[in-house]
Symmetry: D2
Subunit: 225 residues, 4 copies
């Protein structure tokens, strides 16, 4: 997280302006400690707007197939590294031994189980080879004066990219509700593991800034208010 | 302004990630001083997204007819005092002697000229009387046990309300481009004076936080990028 | 409803492009009848995006205090009658005998019970009187050449206005989930009765266009997907 | 275009409700022919909201690197083919002989000139080879039981995908202003040629539905209102 203006306190003055009007200004510098009940009530009954007066900017490095899912979330601000403006580096994501490789179940509700050693070896070998061939092709075209935006079309979806994304706490909760899998969640989600890893890191950073809000989110079934 | 995370620097790392990727992290703590040219280029050619990684929360007190126009701006977060949850106070806006009262020209491009003394006296007297009668009616109904949300329907549009509004710099520029009148503006706007007064205060607060961005906005004809 | 492009069928091709790609084009002209299960699944697990490829434009006439709540819904397109451009007509909402007048309970969860005859008479009399005085003040100012945008500030919140609002089915479901009260709703809402009356009419219009989607919405606890 | 509810007439009733209130209902079924002046005025002075009461759903087939740019446009509804739910087909975009291959100028304002025959041959050969190797790797992993969402990470950005996208006319104009290059445009844009080809097709479809609006857009420098 490179910038943040996000505290539990920010929820309170925004919520209290409803009932207290101009007197809510006294809450701007109050401490949130005694107001866990109000935050919990807002979360439970899905009064979402008081959670919007916050802002967090994250720096994210992840493979392009993760960014593809990420940017479907429209209540957010993005700036990303450009394959048109910059020569992309040969940095690729290769699934590690802890990545469950075999899917079971139906579309929309896949479960994943561990792959065999042979499967893991295959994934590593094939991914590496495909990346090498693609990057060689990319380099060959650049060397011969072909534009970056043309040459990059051969690069694989597992190429790393980098971006800044800015969200408020409400939008982040929506992201987390869809991009993490949790048995306590009221509405089930089945995210791809790689975006879930991003989401988990973001959730940690957010939880340390807004612990009461995070606790209320978890306690109420991880439903974005 | 009750909260802000908005600096010229925030524009730079977001802009530079396009061309520098992970190296843009070095810009997160850099100073913006030498980068006025980049900010000006982004503004002129309307590359708007780098201006979004910022956040400002304003406390606004204004008459309801101003809030009605304000809330048409959808890229913003609002929480407002509620006439359902709170007994509204008898605070009303009455146009002062500096308020130009007479409109000329066509819908969409009204110009306003000063009213006569008689017109000013009339506006003050009529506004006061209408507010008094309305507030008495409101009080009578409350005293007899009528719900606040019913009683408040008699209150005039000039009743003051209060809210918190959170925007990013790009959204704020869009607001300012439409809600201020400026002979240097590339696209003309004809806002009602009362919302323009809000906009002017917000612009001042923003300009002190992001002076280079503000200067580039003015210099490029007050067009939101 | 003055325009609509909204059918249950529109949900299906959008949902099926995930699994069928270009073959989903065959669903563009298919009938939805046999696909109630898919629509129900999308609703239950909150896959919301396939419900967005629809559009409905409503003409709404309602008092200004209703429009104030309405326009807090940001995923929608609005154009409203303007008190700056037009002389407003003396048409006011006066609560009828069926309007429950007495609130009980806490902010955020008010219940309403019937008023006494005395209370109803009071509300009618006070509302009429406040409207009359306000409209007279408005007329007096207009007659003396005061601009419409100034004179209208005395008008009460119960003045009728008119607008066109365009939404897609997902946004409409969010509106309905918050602006109707239903004992079957999974998340409780306590809307003001007057906006609920608008919402009920809109729901009827929508249900006749997209009966399977509407049934799935009701069956799954009126949670916007 | 698979669905549309978009006519020049839709702009008119939405614009006229400002000045005519309930009488604008008479415009709902009026013809736009005599109202080119109003549409032109709205476009020139950037009164954008009346253009939003329209809806167009396009089916788009394009390479993933085009979709990556497309989905940065947030005022739109998307559903896309999924590499998690479906085995992707071996269909790849290979730049043809008309594709200018050599970039000149600075980031943000590249101009492109024709490549040599050698460059074209190289691009075709390298792209084909990278696609073949990648698709073989993909197939090998699928055959051995590796999940689709893992195997697809090796596929190149030039792989074709398919989606439905729904926009209103205002949002479409914003898209066109940024994703087409036109010497008459008031603000210059330098889109990648492949997304511009999509944009040109979409513009044609839109122009035939809303000819007066399209003409006003072109005439006023292709600035989204």
């Amino acid at each position: 997280m490179v910038r943040a203006s996000a505290r539990d306190e920010d929820v309170l003055f925004a919520a209290r302006v409803s009932t207290k009007g101009e007197q809510s200004l006294a809450d701007v510098d109050a401490e949130a400690g005694r107001s866990a009940g109000l935050i919990n009530y807002l979360m439970r009954d899905r009064h979402g707007s008081p959670f919007e007066h916050t802002s967090m900017t994250f720096y994210v490095q992840a493979p392009i197939f993760v960014f593809r899912e990420f940017m479907r979330h429209r209540i957010a601000s993005y700036n990303e590294e450009s394959g048109r403006y910059r020569e992309l580096r040969p940095v690729f994501y290769v699934p590690g031994p802890e990545r469950a490789l075999v899917q079971q179940g139906k579309p929309g509700a896949y479960e994943f189980v561990a792959g065999s050693e042979a499967q893991h070896s295959l994934v590593i070998a094939q991914t590496r080879r495909a990346c090498e061939v693609a990057y060689e092709a990319y380099q060959r075209m650049l060397e011969e004066g072909v534009a970056r935006e043309v040459a990059r079309i051969v690069l694989p979806l597992t190429t790393y990219s980098s971006m800044y994304v800015t969200v408020n706490a409400r939008s982040l909760m929506n992201f987390l509700s869809l991009r993490t899998k949790d048995s306590e969640a009221r509405f089930p989600s089945y995210p791809q593991r790689e975006i879930e890893m991003c989401a988990e890191l973001m959730e940690q950073g957010w939880a340390s800034l807004m612990p009461l809000t995070h606790a209320a989110f978890v306690q109420n079934g991880r439903v974005a208010p």
